[in-house]
Amino acid sequence: MPKIPRPPKWFHLPRQPLVRHLILAIVAAGGFYLLTNDILSTYNTVLVGEIAFYAIALGGLSILTGANGQISFGHGALMAVGAYTAALLMVHTHFNLVLELLIAIGAAAIAGVIVGIPATRLKGPYLAGMTLILAVGLPLLGNQYGSVFNGDQGLVTTPPSPPGSVNPELWLTWIEILGALVIMVLLANLMKSRFGRMFRAVRDDEVAASLAGIHVARTKVIAFAVSAGCAGLAGAFLALSSGVVSSGEFPLSLSIEILAGMVLGGAGTLVGAWWGGIALVFFPQWASSISKAAGLGTGGNAYLGTIIFGAVLVLVMMLAPSGIQGGFRRVGSFADRRLFRPRGGDVTKSLQTGSE
């Protein structure tokens, strides 16, 4: 039997996490550039931009839930914090976009700390309850304090003006993708760093983590702040792409979709955040084309998108318990073993798991 050759040396990415993540991000950026500039229609480009900002929110939540073990039903509210902060800055100041986005991230991170501090004492379902009511309650402040937030009409955001003849929609999409890739690199490095190990240690066993000298409460609050900061940036991008920030943009269903999309993609993985984003953005699109193709009436098919999303969520949770990315990983590692590893590899692997 001929031996399957190992992939050449250059195929291996550098071991240094930062360098490796940067290379991946640059490759991805190139791919996205081709995708948005040459392959996709403008409308689908807009959708890719949406996927990017959902991926930011989902990635942040993935860190919180997947790596640190804290659940949040309130990320829609944290997105609202980022969105309103960015919009208020756009209305009242003339900062540049990057500064506005950074302040939005900061404001949401502060909100995350405020939520995260009481959260340190709460277990899963109790934290879920607290964040759930937060998701419902916080956006209503936009109506209550109409003079600041302009109620249901909301605050109109200023879309970034593109250089030269670039299509403004394409420009915004690029900004969103760039933001997402920067966040992905930062999160990936964070997960490789001391903080990532601390997050996971706290998730796995709080007592053991504190015996190992980790400040459990502080670690949990940091995870919440990081995650909230991501939600804030996603919210600011949502504000930019919808052109307005109003309380109606942050319904409870948004928070639930963020959580569902994150788990659907694969909790704790950053690639999973992209899968989740694709599901959130494309399912409604697919549903409407399916119902159009099936010739269903408009009144009845309006719910088809939600039904499909819910059904896929149920099926994935039951058939691929670690989400889409987990499913791919399983398929991938199976293929990996079969294609790239001599038979002996199996034995080492089973020994490794055996000793764990």
Partner: protein, 472 residues
């Protein structure tokens, strides 16, 4: 320690390689999915858009779009409007279309979420290549895309909202159709001032631009000393129970006349909550939340006891309208509207009948058909705007007052009439039941959205044109 690192190197490399593979797979998959989605629009746009012509217009078709709530808490009632509008377009298409062009009306669900409106509107523009949006619903939702549509010079026509903001000179491509909420508020306030002088007035209004604008109009007419309590509600909080506390507060303040600027669900829940307090003040309801076939079914919640039904609860309630109430079955417009809906949107007719929402849709769509005709055979976006500004005042519509469009005024009606639900008036019979009808209790009034007097309008509305009556 050194040894340990040596051992881990190969496994780390393996992991790195696996990750790189996965990233490549992911990017490839994303591009596949995206490419699959992008193929359809590019082909469709190349077939529909004739070169050097207006987007969405071909020699044989006009593509129009809208975003409306079909799901979510705002969908109730409002999901009837777009299908009813489509009945008018289908009627027009069956009679040769507009200058030989058939109208293709595409509407998407935005669940009343502005973020979703923004996405779906881009889909209409970029993928469906629409000529204009017509009959998109909601103030916050349409505010979100006002800048976008105007920057592309795409008409944002006949927005289903009474916000003054559609007449903003900054956005020439936007236009409303129904009266500004403040106009309705002023007319109701004027009526209250004249008929309930010295009574204690209470407000119960939606905590948004709609409620606030109605209150602005009311306050221009009603002396502030007469207003004893101003209660508001959030549309979303209706789902967490009836506005019982607000009604209790109005009762506690001694209000004798309560003015509602409410959506229909809030009207019924508030009246139900007042019955829960054994309290029946004089209600004055803005047209948005006054339609008895929409309000009535929910009012059956009051339930047994005292022989109270929705119709007795609504009896005596005062409201305004700017198109003939559908109870006036002798009105030629109402007859032709019902026939249109029955013939060209039978599913909608069988489900809802001609109620306030479907009538609204038909009247709005009929207005737009006239605008398209006025724009002439060489249809352009600017041409449509010019035609409305030039001829809008002369369009023949079901409205009780003529349209007031001009180059600066971008909302339809600046007037309304006051009605009162009365047991003796003819009832409205729709699939959901028979509901109380109203009688006019005032002349038709006109007024401007800002400061300015409320005037009696002496003209009579034109009957539906023969072409419509005969062909419908």
């Amino acid at each position: 320690m050194k040894q340990a690192t040596d051992i881990t190197v190969p496994s780390q490399q393996r992991r790195a390689k696996r990750r790189s593979l996965k990233a490549v797979v992911a990017v490839a998959a994303i591009s596949l999915i995206a490419a699959a989605c992008s193929s359809s629009p590019s082909s469709s746009s190349s077939t529909t858009a004739a070169p050097a012509s207006t987007p969405g217009v071909t020699s044989s078709s006009i593509t129009l779009g809208a975003t409306v709530p079909l799901t979510g808490p705002a969908a109730s009632g409002y999901d009837e409007i777009a299908p009813a509008m489509n009945a008018v377009f289908a009627w027009k298409n069956a009679h040769g279309g507009v200058y030989g062009r058939k109208i293709n009306y595409i509407y998407y669900d935005d669940a009343y979420n502005p973020a979703s409106t923004a996405t779906q509107t881009r889909k209409l523009v970029l993928q469906d290549n629409i000529f204009a949006t017509v009959g998109s619903l909601g103030t916050p939702t349409q505010t979100a895309v006002q800048g976008y549509l105007n920057s592309l010079k795409i008409p944002q026509m006949f927005i289903e909202s009474g916000c003054n903001c559609w007449s903003d000179p900054k956005y020439p491509y936007s236009s409303g159709w129904e009266p500004p909420y403040s106009v309705e508020g002023k007319i109701l306030g004027y009526y209250i001032k004249n008929h309930f002088a010295g009574k204690k007035i209470g407000y119960f209004t939606q905590n948004d631009e709609f409620g606030q604008d109605v209150v602005k109009g009311l306050d221009m007419e009603i002396p502030s000393s007469d207003v004893v309590s101003r209660q508001t509600y959030d549309p979303t909080s209706l789902l967490s129970g009836p506005p019982a506390n607000q009604m209790a507060a109005l009762k506690a303040a001694g209000a004798q006349v309560v003015v509602f600027a409410t959506i229909p669900a809030a009207t019924s829940l508030a009246i139900g909550a007042a019955e829960g307090l054994n309290w029946s003040p004089q209600y004055v309801v803005d047209s948005v939340g006054a339609d008895s076939p929409t309000v009535g079914p929910l009012l059956s919640i009051i339930g047994k006891g005292k022989g109270l039904t929705a119709n007795t609860a609504l009896n005596g309630t005062i409201f305004d309208d700017y198109i003939p109430p559908e109870a006036e079955t002798s009105n030629a417009w109402v007859q032709v509207e019902a026939k249109l809906l029955k013939d060209y949107a039978p599913a909608t007719y069988n489900k809802y009948g001609l109620d306030g929402n479907t009538e609204y849709g038909i009247a709005l769509a009929y207005t737009f058909v006239q605008a398209l005709e006025a724009a002439g055979p060489h249809l352009t976006r600017q041409g449509l705007l010019d035609a409305i500004a030039r001829d809008g005042k002369n369009f023949i519509t079901p409205g009780l007052v003529p349209l007031s469009y001009s180059s600066t005024v971008h909302f339809g009606y600046e007037g309304a009439q006051v009605f009162q639900y009365e047991a003796s008036a003819p009832q409205i019979t729709v699939p959901s039941g028979s509901w109380i009808g109203g009688k006019a209790v005032s002349p038709v009034y006109t007024t401007s959205p800002g400061a300015g007097p409320v005037n009696v309008y002496s003209g009579t509305p034109p009957p539906p044109p023969a072409s419509l009556v005969n062909s419908a």
